[in-house]
């Protein structure tokens, strides 16, 4: 095992080279996503953006990981007992054979062959069958700690499929060697043809009409030395998004049709979905328990749980570092601005705001009692400055009310009303306004860093990795543990947000258009958030369209009529697939249903926006389409929006 200086940089499961390291970094909390009601027993789609945690989850169920876990069940009691509860493992060893099958292979090349669609389908199924067989054989031997392919003669397969489904040159029951030879032959023939330097010969390529492997490879029919390999089989197909659209559809259709007793998990990125599918993704309407598990969507409804989960992930990574003896991540981060460093800034802010408020209401006795309440505040400079800034917001709201009520009078507003209105959201807005106006840190502290992950593990590891790098450097230079200041955390988050922003045009399809649109959403949200009245306090982090407008984006005819809608739908799908926008569908508000488009929380940093979910300011669909070409420009006056 290689020593790890900054384990946060191991952002992907593939970067972790050994199973013991993988297990030591694996945080069991993610299991609740797939196993809320027990392990899925039939076909289960698992989706997320890149870095959502799918591959790590699947790796846990592979034979070597389970065997390692069994051998260290005392140290990893929590993980072991959770899997034991799910029936995956017990004191005797693993009870489930998890078969990892990467589908990001050369299947797409089959689509280029000069063959009929039917022949291409047969080839695809032939290759897929061969690879399922090979993966099951390899995994079965691994579960019994045998060597692949040397020990295949100890494996026997008694077919349980109708003969008509089985290839003619395979006779069951047979040994693992015979099945291996068949599968290897099929794979090699097809791959050699695809990979040839010379012109392609397609005449004798082998193909099949069904997924016979799912029928044949059942737990009761696969034995090693006469004993069943495992109680249950789970075939975990990863990287399905790398298949072509028709191949993906065919695979899912055939797998469902097979009604195999083998559990089949199909993991894919959102990129695999068509524009229509993506725009419908996350809808709760019509869903049952067999609906796809969409990791971000799952966490979206439980974001506080996600934030606790990633903190435990971080703690494991801190403990795994060879460079520090720290045991927790939270303790590395300053989480308040109560230190002496910020006292002077808050004092200056307080004086500035006081002067501004006094000038603003000099001739308005209506605010006399509110003012006197604030004048009598005795807390610290920070709390007092926030109260005064809240007062300023409430005064602006009162002054800017479009139409005075007939009951309004010039008599002083009661103090009680001030305290009622200066609630938590207003104070949060006041804090945000203060931070921006006086250059105070805002994006700091463990809770906000977790929120900035935007429900994506890889994004969290990137951000926390940058912070942990500073911890390591500080320990090295100062020879002692230090806490990263709020100011430094804020600066690092700003830097990370800028890098995230810069990468968009290169990283995704329609990247330039996606970023131009996000820029408008961000500017619009910032303009709306920082209006003097702080509407929708503490501020918005996105926009929304009506569900009826979303239907126009999904509807083929509507998009055909207006090419800008097609462009916008594709752009939106791309942004959602890569987690730049997180959509909430069917959000009920103002007597209507909305599709809320939340900016990725890290993009909120780019525009100095608050990090809460769910607050938005809606815009008409046509205006959003317009932002693709003409960026949003904040109006100069403060007229209300149409």
């Amino acid at each position: 095992m290689r020593d790890t200086r900054n384990p946060f940089k191991l952002r992907r499961s593939e970067n972790i080279d050994t199973d013991p390291t993988f297990l030591s970094l694996f945080e069991p909390g993610i299991l609740e996503v797939v196993a809320e009601t027990g392990l899925p027993e039939t076909v289960q789609l698992i989706r997320s953006a890149a870095g959502g945690g799918k591959t790590s989850l699947l790796r846990l169920f592979t034979p070597n990981a389970l065997r390692w876990l069994h051998s260290r069940r005392v140290e990893d009691q929590d993980l072991f007992s959770r899997l034991q509860t799910l029936g995956v493992i017990d004191d005797k060893g693993p009870k489930v054979l998890g078969v990892s099958l990467l589908c990001g292979r050369n299947y797409t090349g089959l689509e280029n062959l000069p063959l009929s669609a039917a022949a291409r389908t047969r080839l695809f199924l032939g290759l897929l069958n061969a690879r399922i067989v090979l993966a099951v054989l390899r995994s079965a031997l691994a579960l019994r700690a045998l060597e692949y392919p040397r020990d295949l003669h100890r494996l026997q397969i008694a077919a349980s499929a109708p003969d008509s489904h089985v290839p003619q040159n395979l006779d069951f029951p047979c040994s693992g060697v015979q099945v291996y030879d068949w599968a290897r032959g099929v794979e090699k023939t097809i791959c050699d043809a695809l990979d040839s330097f010379g012109p392609l010969g397609t005449e004798s390529l082998p193909g099949l009409d069904s997924l016979f492997a799912l029928a044949v490879l059942q737990p009761q029919s696969v034995t090693i030395d006469g004993a069943c390999v495992a109680d249950r089989f789970i075939i975990m197909m990863d990287d399905i998004h790398m298949l072509t659209g028709p191949q993906r559809e065919l695979l899912i259709e055939r797998v469902v049709e097979a009604r195999s007793k083998v559990g089949i998990w199909i993991a894919e990125r959102f990129e695999a979905l068509s524009t229509q599918e993506l725009l419908a993704s996350g809808s709760t309407v019509g869903r049952d328990h067999a609906a796809p598990i969409e990791l971000e969507w799952y966490w979206r409804a439980r974001h506080e749980r996600f934030e606790k989960h990633v903190m435990r992930v971080a703690d494991r990574r801190v403990r795994a570092s060879i460079e520090t003896e720290l045991v927790g991540f939270r303790s590395c981060l300053e989480d308040s601005l109560d230190g002496a460093e910020y006292e002077a800034v808050f004092t200056h802010a307080l004086e500035t705001i006081k002067a501004r408020v006094r000038t603003r209401i000099e001739k308005q006795p209506v605010f006399r009692d509110w003012l006197s309440e604030c004048e009598s505040l005795t807390g610290g400079a920070r709390d007092t400055a926030i109260q005064w800034r809240a007062l300023e917001i409430l005064i602006e709201r009162r002054v800017r009310r479009p139409q005075k009520s007939m009951f309004d009078s010039d008599s002083a507003l009661p103090s009680k009303e001030f305290f009622e209105q200066a609630d938590s959201p207003v104070k949060s807005a006041a804090e945000l306004f203060l931070a921006r106006e006086f250059g105070l840190p805002y994006y700091f502290g463990a809770d906000r860093i977790a929120r900035l992950a935007s429900l994506n593990i890889e994004q969290f590891l990137g951000l926390s990795g940058a912070l942990f790098e500073e911890v390591l450097a500080a320990e090295l230079i100062r020879s002692g543990s230090i806490v990263i200041s709020a100011k430094r955390q804020h600066a690092l988050m700003k830097k990370a947000a800028q890098a995230f922003w810069n990468d968009i045009p290169t990283k995704v399809r329609h990247g330039r258009e996606v970023r131009a649109f996000l820029d408008s959403v961000g500017r619009f949200s910032a303009w709306y958030t920082y209006r003097p009245t702080a509407p929708n306090d503490p501020g918005v982090g996105g926009t929304a369209i009506r569900m009826s407008e979303r239907r126009l984006l999904v509807d083929d005819e509507s998009r055909a009529k207006q090419p800008s809608r097609q462009r916008f739908a594709d752009l939106l799908a791309s942004a959602m697939a890569h987690n730049y926008l997180v959509a909430d569908l069917d959000y009920k508000c103002k007597g209507d249903s909305w599709m809320v488009l939340n900016l990725n929380r890290l993009l909120c940093v780019q525009f100095d926006l608050p990090l809460g979910y769910g607050l938005y300011k809606e815009r008409p669909l046509e205006e959003l389409c317009g932002w693709m070409d003409v960026p949003f420009v904040a109006p100069r006056n403060e007229e209300p929006l149409a």
Binding site: E14, N15, D17, P199
Partner: protein, 371 residues
């Protein structure tokens, strides 16, 4: 398995002033029929090689084949159509009455899938298409890697498998105009979301039956961090040996690249610092030798485990990339598992058209083999 004979151990690499002299001498020995293949691109270097060949004189036809890249609606060929047309006009004017001009379409997409390398590989389906020529010159200056890698590999294959009775060799040359400043000013604008192995260069990475260790040789170039990550996802290597340009014109270039990729290489990929390979920035045959010997050694080391699979990713200049092509071709013919993992750019932004190119010529096959 004994290592294959190094086909390009002895080589002919010419640059700048040596090139006109070579072509003049080459054409003076006998009348030669030349097929010059260029990409119909926006790159101002597109015609430099052609002009040198035409200026060398000599008898025989000088035919021009332009590859018309069908890259899609939002592509460089559409955005820079005026430059593409001007370049082609310049090329056809230069050929004039000395030969024919023809254009072949290279489809980059089919039903939303990138098929550029398959399309490029199939431009030449049989050796009959080039039988009437004594020399085929491929100018890669304005061609993407996904085009010239499979196309040159196919040409080499066709020439290597030419019927024995065809005694008169056909020469295959590659020409490239190198301009690091211009390369730096051409920035990718969006890359494909998935990396893949080029047509004919799968390297056995996709075979479930093969579970040998995977070695990745990324040839590092500036500003390719996102491409690196995308290719890494596809290759999922067990061992990484980055290739650095050294010697290079800027002696600090390799150091700067290590600094640029430091976090990715060391923190994410756990690179062992002893794994760096160094190859000359301006000598593709040196690159070929380095890569070839690295692959052969890895194969020897992993022999007990059944060998290994090697993926090369040409993220460096086109000149260096040619070395990767030669190594991969030769080793694959020798039945080694070598692939080319690559991610294509969707579009490019041309920030400057100032031209200070150095022209390089490589003689890859034909009479040079006989000699």
């Amino acid at each position: 398995m004994s290592p294959p004979a190094a086909r390009w151990e002895q080589y002919l690499l010419l640059r700048n002033a040596d090139l006109p002299a070579f072509w003049t001498q080459h054409f003076s020995s006998k009348e030669r029929a030349v097929l010059f293949i260029i990409g119909r691109g926006f790159d101002p270097r597109m015609c430099l090689g052609l002009e040198v060949v035409l200026a060398a004189g000599g008898g025989g036809p000088r035919d021009l084949l332009g590859l018309d890249f069908r890259e899609g609606a939002t592509s460089a060929s559409v955005d820079h159509k005026a430059l593409v047309d001007a370049n082609w006009e310049k090329a056809t004017t230069a050929v004039g009455t000395r030969g024919s001009n023809s254009v072949v379409a290279v489809e980059f997409w089919s039903q939303g899938r990138r098929v550029s390398s398959q399309s490029a590989r199939d431009i030449f389906k049989s050796v009959e298409q080039i039988e009437k020529y004594t020399d085929v010159v491929v100018d890669i200056s304005s061609m993407p890697r996904s085009v010239y890698f499979p196309m040159i590999a196919r040409l080499l294959f066709l020439l290597d498998h030419r019927p024995a009775q065809k005694t008169s060799p056909i020469n295959l040359h590659a020409v490239v105009a190198e301009d690091p400043d211009l390369d730096a000013s051409i920035q990718p604008r969006g890359i494909d979301e998935k990396a893949d192995f080029m047509a004919s260069f799968g390297g056995g990475f996709d075979e479930e039956a093969i579970q040998t260790p995977k070695v990745w040789l990324p040839m590092l170039g500036e500003n390719r961090r996102i491409q690196m990550g995308t290719i890494y996802d596809r290759v999922k290597p067990d061992e990484i040996c980055p290739v650095l340009p050294s010697p290079s014109r800027d002696p600090r270039r390799a150091d700067n690249l290590v600094i640029e990729y430091q976090s990715v290489l060391f923190d994410q990929y756990h690179l062992d610092a002893r794994n760096f390979l160094y190859a000359s920035e301006q000598n593709p045959f040196e690159v070929y030798r380095r890569l070839r010997s690295a692959v052969v050694r890895y194969d020897e080391v992993f022999a007990l485990l059944g060998g290994c699979r090697v993926a090369i990713s040409p993220l460096a200049s086109k000149l260096m990339s040619l070395g990767a092509l030669l190594a991969a071709y030769e080793l694959k013919v020798a039945e080694r598992s070598v692939g080319i993992a690559h991610v294509e750019s969707q579009n490019y932004q041309l920030n400057s058209s100032a031209l200070r190119a150095e022209l390089f010529g490589l003689w890859l096959a034909g009479e040079c083999d006989v000699a």
